[in-house]
């Protein structure tokens, strides 16, 4: 694992994309953002294992595109969100093609209806809600991450919340 002292300077440099060397940049980005991106990916997928894998994928992609990633942190987050959406697509396919797939393990703890309802949402709705209520992003930032218009984000959030309400406020 890499080590080093986190500094405001590094953080600002990553945010502003001012580190030219890809390896140095990705190292700082890792130190700054890896854990938070895994948490984000976990909220988007519900799977710890997948979250790790998808975030690592995203770091590799950002490294390869470092020269074009003018805002590496935002770029990384978008990569994570896109990877998670692709993961959902693949998973849907696999589930569809495996009629006798083993059911996923049931959590032994108290059922969390809100969490389950979030997991049942369409991936785009789920992503919009997580980016808004966990990452506290603006509609414009969410739109950029999801590749849609801000108006669509509003609609996704509105409909996503409406679905959650059905479950937690029946």
């Amino acid at each position: 694992m890499i080590s080093g002292v986190e500094t405001e300077r590094e953080r600002a440099a990553v945010d502003a994309g001012r580190i030219d060397d890809p390896h140095e940049g990705i190292t700082v980005l890792y130190r700054e953002r890896y854990a938070s991106m895994v948490r984000l990916a976990y909220l988007l997928t519900g799977s710890n294992e997948a979250a790790e894998e998808l975030v690592q994928d995203a770091f590799v992609k950002v490294h390869r595109r470092w020269d074009r990633a003018y805002e590496p942190a935002a770029y990384l987050r978008t990569a994570v969100v896109n990877n998670c959406r692709s993961w959902h697509r693949r998973r849907f396919l696999e589930r569809d093609r495996r009629p006798h797939a083993a059911p996923e393990a049931v959590e032994p703890s108290e059922p969390d209806h809100m969490w389950e309802a979030l997991g049942a949402l369409q991936p785009r709705q789920r992503a919009a809600l997580v980016l808004k209520f966990y990452e506290d992003l603006s509609e414009e930032q969410i739109a950029s991450a999801l590749g849609c218009r801000p108006g669509t984000v509003k609609s996704l959030v509105h409909r996503g919340l409406a679905e959650l309400r059905k479950v937690v406020e029946p």
Partner: protein
């Protein structure tokens, strides 16, 4: 605690369940060391079918080596995608396919998975083809696989291809193409993979869309987390070559968007991965329906005499005015149409509802209109007996739109209907802030299984400009649709309208629109205590904002 706060609390709590691995950095470093297949070329183009059956291929127009785009005169129906030159390096890990993986090493890994008893579907070429189509943009379409050379059960030797013809039927047309599938090794236990999609003979048979001139298309390519705008251009008039930087294992994805709703019916994107010496080329044609609402009603059989659809919306205020003027002109006029028994009869027009898509170019448009008819001209709108689904054609003549003609279906039974009062603005009214500014006018409402309240709002959203001799103003954009209407336990009616409802206009006009809906609902159902009107899923405070 409201739902938003509960969600925030839950997300914060759940995020703590994630446990980042302490070894993650070494894994990332290890992957950064691996060779990769760099700088494939991406060729993208959008095609507009221009006739009922068109042979359509992508033409390479030019290349901006710095990522810029060159605009072509338009797709050439006789020219295939050309080879792209130079500047590409391919390391040892060669690229073989399009789906379910690109690199040989990845395909071999999938083979090992199958050998271990997983994902047996990859042994079936039909399932692989279907999975590809579902995974890409054709998920919403009805797909039929029409066999291939040698039949789907054939087991070609390594390198031999199996062609699978695919027909994808959308609500607004169809597209056909060819998938080429290949086995990794020459035995029956080998997985199949899609090696090429599309061909120079890709055919489009898009029956609904004659042309799309005037629509702007934005094609985005998403790669490695960034959203790159590939091109903005009129739909009929562009193709592009764009240099991407895609690791072969990282799958580019596309979306099509248009300045008008909905996005155009079919956009073809050709992705070409190219080796350094041009020796290896993978072509992948993606047929995208964008987020077209049309794809949601895919596969529905459309009766021959019902050309109208209700799944598309395109707004154009200037053409709407022409339509409204025509409605006013022909309202309560008689016409000879065929009744339910097929006999020609004289009927009078008693109402209109814009029901379907508007297929619009710079110079021509078609609007689907449900026209209600009565047998007795003296009875006016109070004696509706049937309806026709008509296609009204509009043409641009100079700066003005004009109705050029109408195609009518045969008369159908109106079914259940009622007379409802619909709130229109008095010609002297402006912002709809007082009762005096409104007129409640009777209109024949086709109920057709929906509740009378919804039917009344539907009728409000028609294109009428006149009822009898009563002049009035209608402020809602013509293609506004009723998305949802519920009355809660407190008697509050929640009306959701589609996006055009608050297009354009200032606060005065917005208020007038909202009031038209509110007053119509209150008139239709006196038990309703209040009305909340929203637009396009947005909360009330964000709807009808000037």
């Amino acid at each position: 605690m409201n739902i938003e706060d509960r969600l925030r609390e839950m997300l914060g709590r759940r995020a703590d369940d994630a446990t980042p691995s302490p070894y993650a950095w070494s894994r990332i470093e290890e992957r950064l060391e691996r060779p990769r297949w760099r700088n494939p070329w991406v060729v993208a183009g959008a095609l507009a079918p221009t006739a009922a059956l068109v042979v359509a291929v992508v033409m390479v127009a030019g290349r901006g080596g710095d990522g810029s785009e060159d605009v072509a005169a338009g797709p050439d129906p006789t020219t295939a995608t050309s080879a792209v030159d130079g500047g590409v390096e391919v390391p040892g890990d060669d690229a073989l396919g399009v789906f379910p993986a690109v690199l040989r090493s990845d395909l071999e890994a999938l083979q090992r998975e199958v050998d271990a008893g997983h994902d047996a579907w990859m042994l079936d070429p039909e399932q692989v083809a279907a999975a590809y189509l579902r995974e890409r943009a054709l998920g919403g379409a009805t797909i039929s696989i029409e066999g291939g050379s040698g039949g789907l059960s054939a087991a070609p030797a390594e390198g031999e291809l199996l062609a699978v013809s695919v027909v994808a039927v959308y609500s607004h047309g169809e597209a056909s193409g060819t998938l080429l599938l290949q086995r990794l090794t020459a035995d029956n236990e080998s997985i199949w993979f899609v090696s090429t999609v599309g061909s120079d003979e890709v055919e489009f048979a898009n029956l609904a869309y004659d042309s799309h001139g005037g629509l702007d298309v934005t094609l985005r390519m998403v790669d490695a987390g960034g959203v790159e705008v590939v091109a903005d251009a009129p739909y009929t008039d562009w193709s592009r070559t764009w240099e991407g930087d895609f690791a072969a294992g990282s799958e580019p994805s596309f979306s099509a968007d248009a300045s008008g709703d909905p996005p155009p019916a079919v956009v073809l994107v050709r992705v070409q991965y190219e080796g350094p010496d041009g020796s290896r080329s993978i072509v992948e044609d993606l047929v995208l329906a964008g987020s077209s609402q049309g794809s949601e009603s895919v596969g529905a059989e459309e009766p021959a005499d019902e050309p109208c659809r209700s799944d598309l919306e395109v707004r154009d205020a200037s053409a709407d005015e022409a339509l409204r003027a025509w409605f006013a002109e022909v309202y309560e006029t008689t016409d000879t149409i065929h009744d339910q028994a097929g006999q020609p009869q004289e009927f009078v027009i008693t109402g209109f509802t814009v029901t379907g898509d508007v297929l619009r170019t710079d110079t021509a448009a078609e609007v689907c209109v449900r026209t209600t008819w009565a047998t007795d001209p003296e009875q006016g709108s109070g004696d509706a007996v049937g309806y026709t689904d008509d296609v009204v054609s509009l043409e641009r003549r100079g700066d003005e739109w004009a109705v050029a003609g109408v195609r009518r279906s045969t008369l159908k039974n109106l079914g259940e209907w009622m007379t409802a009062e619909v709130a229109f603005l008095d010609p002297s009214g402006e912002c709809g802030e007082s009762d005096a500014e409104f007129k409640l006018l009777p209109a024949a409402v086709v109920v057709e299984g929906e509740d009378p309240l919804s039917a009344a709002v539907h009728t409000l959203l028609t294109g009428w400009t006149q009822v009898g001799d009563e002049p009035f103003r209608h402020t809602l954009p013509l293609h506004t649709r009723l998305v949802g209407l519920d009355v809660d336990e407190q008697g509050v009616a929640h009306v959701e309208l589609s996006a055009p409802a608050d297009d354009g206009g200032g606060s005065c006009l917005m208020n007038a629109r909202k009031e038209q809906v509110r007053r119509t609902v209150l008139a239709a159902d006196p038990s309703v205590a209040d009305v909340v009107v929203t637009v396009d899923g947005r909360p009330p405070e964000e709807s009808f904002q000037p």
